[in-house]
Symmetry: C2
Subunit: 415 residues, 2 copies
């Protein structure tokens, strides 16, 4: 057959063999690291819940972690952004130390009650472990991009138990408005395997029950579009505020350990006033958001706790707090929009994340993986709407803008 790109099966077999092996190794390392991490996170959360006084040590813990990063972690401090930068412009292998540093730092964040997530940790462990294969397989810089993406994919998939969302996340997060397929096979395979390996280590994921999803109709569609707009603005507020607060604190308190100490003190005072509702991952509150009405300020409370935690340098990530903010916000919007709590909590869960990370397809697929296919059309509308309304600067500063979200320009010849 004549074709502008001649094709033969022989060409593809070495590609398939090599990347199946690499994806398997990435999944083994990343799935195992995620399992260890989730186990440690359970331990840290349980310890904090039974030893209330641990929260008083948060400022000190923040100081120590920041000091350690200052001494041995400046190269890996940029975290997720370092990985995204290396994928855009591959230069040198990500230091292996990123994995243990972010693991320990995040477990300490959670043990002492900072309000942070876990996707950053899983993604950074996945990325840095995967990148160590660069030497083993003598990979070219172009191939390193693919390995790093497979690592991100495996980390995300195994920490949340959502393999397809993990793979699409890794493809989608690099740039706003465009998704390339060159890493689709390694990302899919490593995500699915890493999720299996995590579960083989005995990891269980939280189960959120969205409950009844109402039939599609004019009102429910309009209501979900409106909710998506609110979710998008919340995502914009979160991403803008976290960048602004981080910059402000860096200017006010240039010495990182002191910054973490100050942030810790603010958090401790806030906990003294409001209790532990907004510390840590907050999974119990998220479960509540699917079950019964919650006060509207739960999302605001979590937003402020998370801003202070991330802005003052605590490690972990943004995504689980975004799930919390979205689920509680959806819960609060449900009576206003006359839709079930569980359904809107589920939509908020994925859509605030979609807007903040600029990953509408991964978030839609995540909704289907977590809540079932019936929520699909609603999740797609809420996530796309949130994506459109969240501006062009998400939580990942290294993410580039490939295609403007809502200014329609001429086709660039590369549709």
């Amino acid at each position: 057959m004549k074709s502008s790109h001649p094709y033969s099966l022989l060409q593809i077999l070495p590609y398939l063999g090599k990347w199946t092996l690499i994806a398997g190794l990435v999944a083994l390392a990343s799935g195992t690291a995620s399992a260890l991490f989730l186990w440690a996170l359970d331990w840290a959360t349980a310890s904090r819940t039974t030893h209330y006084w641990l929260i008083w040590l948060l400022p000190l813990a923040g100081w120590v972690v920041s000091w350690v990063y200052l001494k041995v972690g400046t190269q890996v401090e940029a975290g997720n952004n370092l990985l995204i930068d290396e994928i855009h412009d591959p230069r040198k292998v990500v230091p292996l130390r990123m994995a243990p540093l972010v693991l320990l730092a995040t477990v300490i964040s959670h043990l002492f009650g900072a309000s942070v997530g876990r996707e950053g940790t899983a993604v950074q462990m996945g990325g840095s472990l995967a990148d160590q294969l660069t030497h083993l397989f003598r990979l070219r810089q172009e191939e390193r991009r693919i390995v790093l993406m497979a690592g991100i994919s495996a980390g995300f998939a195994s920490v949340f138990g959502t393999p397809l969302a993990g793979a699409i996340f890794a493809l989608e997060v690099l740039a706003i408005g465009r998704l390339r397929y060159d890493a689709i096979f390694p990302c899919m395979l490593s995500a699915i395997l890493a999720d299996q390996i995590g579960m083989a280590w005995g990891i269980h994921h939280s189960h959120y029950a969205a409950g009844a999803i109402v039939a599609l109709g004019p009102w429910s569609l309009l209501a979900v579009l409106l909710a998506g707009l609110v979710f998008g603005l919340t995502a914009w507020l979160f991403a803008s505020a976290v960048h602004a607060l981080t910059a402000l604190l860096k200017r006010l308190i240039p010495y990182a350990p002191l910054r973490a100490l100050a942030g810790g003190v603010v958090l401790v005072l806030a906990v003294a006033a409001l209790g532990q509702r907004y510390t840590g991952l907050g999974i119990p509150v998220m479960l509540e958001a699917f079950a019964h009405p919650l006060p509207w300020w739960d999302s605001a409370g979590k937003l402020v706790f998370t801003l202070v935690s991330l802005g003052s340098g605590y490690k972990g990530g943004e995504v689980t707090p975004l799930f919390f903010i979205g689920a509680t916000l959806g819960n609060a919007l449900a009576p206003l929009l006359n839709l079930p709590f569980g359904m809107l909590a589920a939509l908020g869960f994925v859509a605030v994340f979609a807007g903040a990370a600029n990953t509408p397809l991964a978030s839609t697929v995540m909704a289907i993986e977590l809540f079932g296919p019936q929520i699909g059309p609603y999740a797609a509308l809420a996530c796309v709407m949130a994506y459109l309304c969240s501006g062009h600067r998400g939580i990942y500063k290294a993410q580039t803008v490939a295609v403007h979200k809502h200014r329609i320009g001429p086709p660039d010849g590369q549709p």
Copy 2:
């Protein structure tokens, strides 16, 4: 907040209002057209099944349809490829006559027993109806791209009852290896609304029950990768053969009506020898493929009937025959791979299509919409594998190659 792309909510409200209205109109036109088409298709199929002798008139029907296209349809003859070309390089509005011509031609194909599909028809009706809004809204050429994509999305979604797959298909089909998000909102909204409008007209979609999906494990994953490879090679064979046969017949018989007549005669002779198993959409055989073992030659038979039908110019489309070929091939592979019939039929259903249309994400999402989320990881692997192994020239000749499937090059600065 400072940002390289300044953002304000006011900027986006006119965009949202305009495209919500356009997506609604596209969905109304396309969903209604699909409903009419599916109703006519049911009538045509039922008529053929009760009046066996209609098949003898196929060559004559082919002559008449080709003659009509020659007289009034040369501008719209290119069908799906015309739409894709206009999206890549918008020039002039697609003539409205594309819609009634392809509708009638496809119903005639099915009434007299050609082996063709229906997605081409739905997509062409959706695209040409949508493009008529260009005048009404005084759209710029760049905006026409988006309207055409929304039309494709709405047509695909409403004819198969798979809204998310329809939207992703429209974004994904334009170029191999890259997906742009500039049409994501109009495509999602028009797909979901068109599907609803089709159902409001009383349309029902065939339900295929994949049955038990085995738990993920080393063997099942490896088996599905192998099956994906076979599905991809089948897709490659189909796409290559349809282009080659079309070119050959054009050279041998330059006069289009005579070509259709000759193809019709071959099909009639084949039906006389083998019966009607491979004519029309073939939904009863597809349902069998999910239920019990079928002979391996069912997929080969359908492939040959479809090649002759499409190669000699019968209208309809490739996708439903690809579903048939994939489902029966999956069925035949099931005992060899020691996996359930229904599961492999479901995977073949989507994966041969994924390989031939180069739309692995739309096909994976379609699998979840049709067969439930449990099949997700398997469908993703089978579809991605089929995509990798199907070469760079799919069924749509106007599709461009944006990113090579398995040759890893330097990042192009536009990840």
